[in-house]
């Protein structure tokens, strides 16, 4: 099978899987509504029926949010791993989680009344921290070092986590709200929360697709990529900025979702290969599918209790990642 056919098949399969997962995410759930009621709600648009409210006001925004978050984080992870040439790189490595969490905690503690601004604070914190991390790594050394980005991210992240712990000692009442934010999830999300992040995620994914031909050449190392006419430093900076934009947009409505950005690019590479032009859309689809299914599982497995999707993603993601790691070392 030639590449064109292979990729058409792959994208079609992923699209069908995404539609099926979204459909499952909308029709399945803890609430006991019959399929007939749902169909009625869709066809007759009877706005005030419980079925309509559950489908259109609760589940549809939730599924949309999960698709956006999964797609954004998976593409961000792919960009980070490609730009730093490090398979273990993920959004939290460039300080996204630390920055978003610290800003969220500061607002909770200092201005608890400004509850509506918490997503904005998380977004600003994530973006500002990644800007600091990138700025630090770009000023150290002659070239944009792949290792410096990671080290700067880890150091800044550790500092901000210490700040979060310090604030939680001073303001223990803020801790429960922070916990649900740090676990990540999609409960109580409305379409109005998603407009701005959705635009940013679409722009981020489009930018990643534009960067992908140049990112493909970074696997040759900086010197050889540059000798092929690539502005290595510029491509790396743009990739990291795009990744931080995507992560910040997701953090603002979904909290700190773990493992999607790390695991999805690895899974997709096994199926789709290493061409980043193909990996960007594939990761976006696969990230969406994984997150929608995790969210569905998190709200149905222990119904009436609901597990934050982030916890389930970590529970599933960590062993899977270890399996990949050990599988690879066995092969080596």
């Amino acid at each position: 099978m030639n590449n064109k056919k292979k990729y058409t098949l792959l994208f079609t399969a992923l699209l069908i899987l995404l539609i099926l997962s979204a459909f499952a995410g909308i029709v399945l759930g803890g609430s006991d509504i019959s399929f007939k009621d749902m169909l009625n709600a869709v066809l007759n648009k009877s706005v005030h029926t419980p079925a309509y409210i559950i489908l259109f006001d609760l589940r549809l925004p939730r599924v949309t949010a999960a698709i956006l978050a999964g797609a954004g984080l998976a593409v961000a992870g792919l960009l980070l791993q490609s730009a730093t040439d490090n398979d273990l790189c993920s959004p939290n490595v460039i300080g996204v989680n630390g920055g978003a969490g610290f800003a969220y905690m500061v607002l909770l503690c200092v201005l608890p009344a400004a509850f509506d601004f918490l997503p904005l604070a998380a977004f600003a914190g994530a973006l500002l921290t990644t800007a600091v991390v990138l700025g630090m790594s770009f000023t150290v050394g002659h070239h944009t070092s792949k290792t410096t980005v990671i080290l700067a991210g880890v150091a800044v992240g550790a500092l901000l986590n210490a700040g979060i712990s310090f604030l939680s000692q001073l303001y223990p009442e803020a801790l429960s709200s922070y916990s649900s934010f740090s676990a990540g999830g999609f409960s109580n999300i409305y379409f109005s929360d998603l407009t701005v992040p959705a635009v940013m995620i679409f722009i981020g994914i489009a930018a990643a697709q534009l960067l992908s031909p140049a990112l493909n050449l970074l696997c040759l190392g900086d010197e050889m990529a540059q000798s092929l006419g690539i502005r290595v430093r510029r491509i790396r900076v743009l990739s990291l900025v795009t990744a931080s934009l995507l992560c910040s947009a997701v953090v603002s409505f979904a909290g700190l979702l773990g493992f999607v950005g790390l695991v999805v690019p690895h899974i997709v590479r096994r199926v789709a290969g290493y061409d980043i032009r193909v990996l960007v859309p594939s990761c976006a689809f696969a990230g969406g599918i994984l997150t929608v299914l995790s969210d569905l599982a998190s709200r149905t497995l222990f119904y009436p209790a609901e597990l934050p999707a982030g916890i389930l993603l970590s529970v599933l993601g960590a062993p899977f990642f270890l399996y990949l790691l050990f599988g690879r070392s066995r092969k080596a």
């Binding site: 002659h142 534009l210 031909p213 696997c219 010197e223 540059q226 000798s227 092929l228 006419g229 690539i230």
Partner: protein
Amino acid sequence: MIICKDVRLTYRKKNILNGADFEAEAGKITVLLGRNGCGKTSLLRCIAGARHHSKGEILLNGKDNKKLSPAERGKILSVMVQNLPSPPVSVRELASFGRQPYLAYGGRPGENDRIKIQKAMELTGILSHERDMVNKLSGGERQLAFFTMLLVQDTPIVLLDEPTSNLDAEYRRRVYDTMKKMRDGGKTVVATLHSLEDAVMLADKIYVMDKGKTVFKGSAKEFSESEIPESIFGLKPLKVKSEDNRELTVFLMK
């Protein structure tokens, strides 16, 4: 053609290059020799534009290297680094990367490009591995795969940093044959080497570097007859005749 005049490079307050002068002509193989840490790779990296020299001038085919954009440089000069990466791409895909400087951003190789790729793979003898992943090849095959990419890039200047390190005799011979084909095609070929025997056998011109400076330039014969092998490398040249009556120079440790 490459002209380097009084090239200086300082990194973290350390002088790496202290006024290196160097010239390489088209249609010739110029070999850079020197002990570890003498500045050979740094000079090559400055020529390749990967490092910006602090002082001096580097001209590539008459153009100031500092004023060239990576895209312009990609059409003049191609590079093979010392420690080759193991990219997760097939040999054919790697070879096709060589057409990158000539394509519009994100563009795919056309029919003419594909012919060039095919010919280059035939020339380096890597065609039987075209579908194999580069990261699964042996060291020698990987080296030839990268040589194929360089041939596809088809630039007038080719820089090779230790192109035969870790290769067995058969692969070294194939690499040197490819270098000679590049030279015969009119290219300016510059290589750093560790083996003085190979340098004398291959080079049209030899430069020797020491402490960031060029301390010798001349033909292979002039190099063998000079005091440089002994004073810089601690090796004594000895002329021997092979069974087929070829005159060879070997360098013996003192």
